[in-house]
């Protein structure tokens, strides 16, 4: 089922959680709502579910207005971050719940319920746990049961609120791959909320990046990572280095470095910010011709498994930058703290600094593990 969100607005007291949001979710996709806490992503999910009602705007299911429909009648499966399993019921009864509460006319027979719950437990690979109580399961198992329970009512949409947020890293990675495979089998339109960019990039067909009640960008994982639409998206997805810059007549300057920015042709001496990913920087021993490098000194070298991370300081400016390179490249020419080097950004993205808000006070910035 497709979901159409039109002009949703929601306020909690003075706090605007959603500021006129519109979004189309096509049938059968797995969509991630990604953003920092307080960006409105969970509120949006809960409004789609009918657990919360918007002040303005509409939610359409297959083109049909569902805004005023009760959660019970929306045909959504909802999975909560903290599982919300029924503690006093066995795993089997938890999964069977949605079938047992149906009106007598549509309620399946006991044998049908047994067969269905059995199949679902099979699907989530936990058929041997049917008699247990939720408190006897691990976090990952509980979340899979919560998913089986949501699927039992054959929802037209599956909504997951930070489904892996309460799990440890290893289980989380396993579960999200499993969720992806499950989605490929079932093709049920799914929306999940996460603040973990890695999770969104790995699992989703499309990512909706949200910030402060707005949608910053909607796109495939490649699109949002490779060509972020706004400084916020740049900062939020992956590590970045941030340089202060000036744009004048189609050229941006970062120290000695000059970059052509035709899109800002009419800017005059405008302050701007230059973004570059740590793995998009080359470190050279010698300067290159044509203002493409910046002198810097190596401050720290740290090894992160397959990659090596260098912290360098621009020699005149004193701005810090982070560089990531493969272990092989580092081994070919090992740099030591104190070495004088020349850094060369391969992809530099310039945003005019009109709105000083999204600039982080740090010189490099990122969230979670590096990509």
């Amino acid at each position: 089922m497709s979901i159409d969100i039109q002009g949703l607005y929601k306020r909690f007291g003075e706090f605007v959680a959603l500021d006129h949001i519109s979004l189309a979710i096509p049938e059968g996709q797995l969509v991630a709502l990604l953003g920092p806490s307080g960006c409105g992503k969970t509120t949006l999910l809960r409004i789609i579910a009918g657990l919360e009602y918007a002040d303005q705007g509409q939610v359409l299911f297959n083109g049909e207005d569902a805004s005023r429909r009760h959660v019970r009648e929306r045909g959504v499966g909802f999975v909560f971050q903290h599982y919300a399993l029924f503690q006093h019921m066995s795993v089997f009864e938890n999964v069977a719940f949605g079938l047992r509460v149906r009106p007598r006319a549509t309620r399946p027979s006991e044998a049908q319920i047994r067969a269905k719950v059995g199949a679902l437990l099979e699907l989530v690979q936990l058929s041997w746990l049917g008699d247990r109580l939720p408190s006897q399961l691990s976090g990952g198992q509980r979340q899979r049961i919560a998913l089986a329970r949501a699927l039992a009512v054959e929802p037209r949409v599956l909504l997951l609120d930070e489904p892996f947020g309460a799990l440890d890293t290893k289980v989380r990675k396993e579960l999200r791959r499993w969720l992806r495979r499950l989605h490929d089998e079932l093709h049920i339109t799914s929306v999940f909320v996460t603040h973990d960019q890695e999770e969104a990039l790995e699992v989703a067909d499309r990512i909706v990046v949200m910030n402060r009640g707005h949608i910053e960008q909607v796109g495939s994982p490649e699109e949002v990572y490779e060509s972020p639409a706004t400084p916020f998206v740049y900062q939020f997805l992956g590590h970045i280095n941030l340089f202060h810059s000036r744009v004048h007549a189609g050229w941006a300057r970062v120290g000695h470095l000059r970059v052509r920015v035709p899109e800002y042709g009419d800017a005059e001496h405008a302050p701007a910010l230059a973004y570059v990913r740590p793995h998009d920087i080359d470190v050279l021993r010698e300067p290159e011709d044509g203002d493409t490098t910046l002198p810097a000194t190596v401050q720290r070298v740290s090894s992160l498994g397959s990659t090596v991370r260098l912290e360098v300081m621009q020699t005149p400016g004193g701005e810090f930058a982070e560089v990531e390179m493969t272990r092989e490249r580092y081994a070919a020419d090992p740099l030591r703290p104190g070495d004088l080097v020349f850094v060369k950004p391969r992809h530099l993205r310039i945003f005019l600094n009109e709105d000083p808000q999204p600039v982080a006070p740090m010189h490099w910035h990122g969230d979670g593990d590096g990509i």
Binding site: R72, H88, G98, V153
Partner: protein, 278 residues
């Protein structure tokens, strides 16, 4: 003689010996010794005397009234206490804190004051009694009055035991149930009620136990007619006033044993109804 091995495996939670010893000594001093005194007193009688006293028609009638009225009052309190707790937890409304504080008043009020107030209200010419009179309902000086008094003093128990459990119920669990298609009543019946059932049973037990032992508020409203509206505690007191200490002790012992058996039964019920055993 060989030495006992000195070291025991250490416990994770320290202080078991000390706290258990203290608990037993304390319970002994405060509860068991006074109760044992009643038993010792009753043993001054021989079996036939004892049996004659505790099965006298007037005494039997008082048992019926005490336990019957207590049971009814505790049941009423369970129902209404649940509603009061529900309202206090679930809905914001002006004056909520005031009502919350009001619930505890029956604890604080001297029971005699409660008894006199209730009697005044429910007497044939009282504020409430005058409306009941045309309907031919008599509350004061009847067993019904006993139930009213016992309901009054037992109100806080159920409210105060159920309230925290209701507060701890996760809203998400109910939302999950609703998203699975459950109607409000089904959510209450299948999700909320099983969660609060142990607390409800505890509140019921406390209210019931309190009602069995209640004296002060009842004697004013009951009228204390032998065979009709005379409660067992009053019977014991009147035996004491006649210097019939052994008789008083005998009735008290029967009451104790009956109460203990009932409470034990409720405890077993509690254990049996715990989640995961049903």
């Amino acid at each position: 003689m060989r030495m006992m091995p000195r070291s025991r495996p250490p416990r994770v939670l320290p202080g078991f010996g000390l706290t258990l010893g203290f608990s037993l000594a304390y319970l002994g001093l405060i509860v068991l010794i006074p109760l044992a005194m009643a038993f010792l007193r009753a043993f001054n009688l021989d079996w036939n005397e004892f049996w004659a006293i505790v099965t006298a028609p007037r005494v039997l009638a008082s048992y019926r009234l005490t336990f019957g009225a207590s049971l009814i009052a505790a049941l009423i309190n369970t129902g209404f206490g649940l509603i009061v707790a529900w309202v206090l937890v679930r809905y914001p409304f002006p004056g909520k804190r005031l009502i919350d504080a009001l619930v505890d008043l029956p604890f604080a009020l001297p029971t005699a004051v409660a008894g006199i107030t209730l009697t005044t209200l429910y007497a044939g010419n009282g504020w409430i009694g005058q409306f009941l009179k045309p309907l031919d309902i008599k509350v004061a000086f009847t067993p019904l009055g006993v139930v009213v008094a016992l309901t009054f003093i037992g109100l806080p128990f159920v409210v105060r035991t159920v309230q925290p459990v209701l507060e701890d119920l996760e809203a998400e669990v109910e939302e999950a149930a609703a998203s699975l298609g459950a109607r409000r009543w089904q959510i209450f019946q299948r999700i909320i009620f099983p969660a609060i059932r142990p607390a409800l049973l505890t509140g019921f037990t406390l209210a019931f136990a309190r009602a069995i032992g209640e004296y002060g508020s009842v004697i004013f409203i009951a009228g204390n007619l032998p065979m009709v509206s005379e409660i067992t505690p009053l019977l014991i007191v009147s035996k004491l006033e006649q210097y019939d200490y052994n008789g008083a002790a005998a009735v008290a012992v029967v009451m104790l044993v009956l109460s203990f058996l009932l409470l034990l039964m409720i405890n077993l019920l509690q254990r049996w109804s715990r989640p995961g055993r049903g």
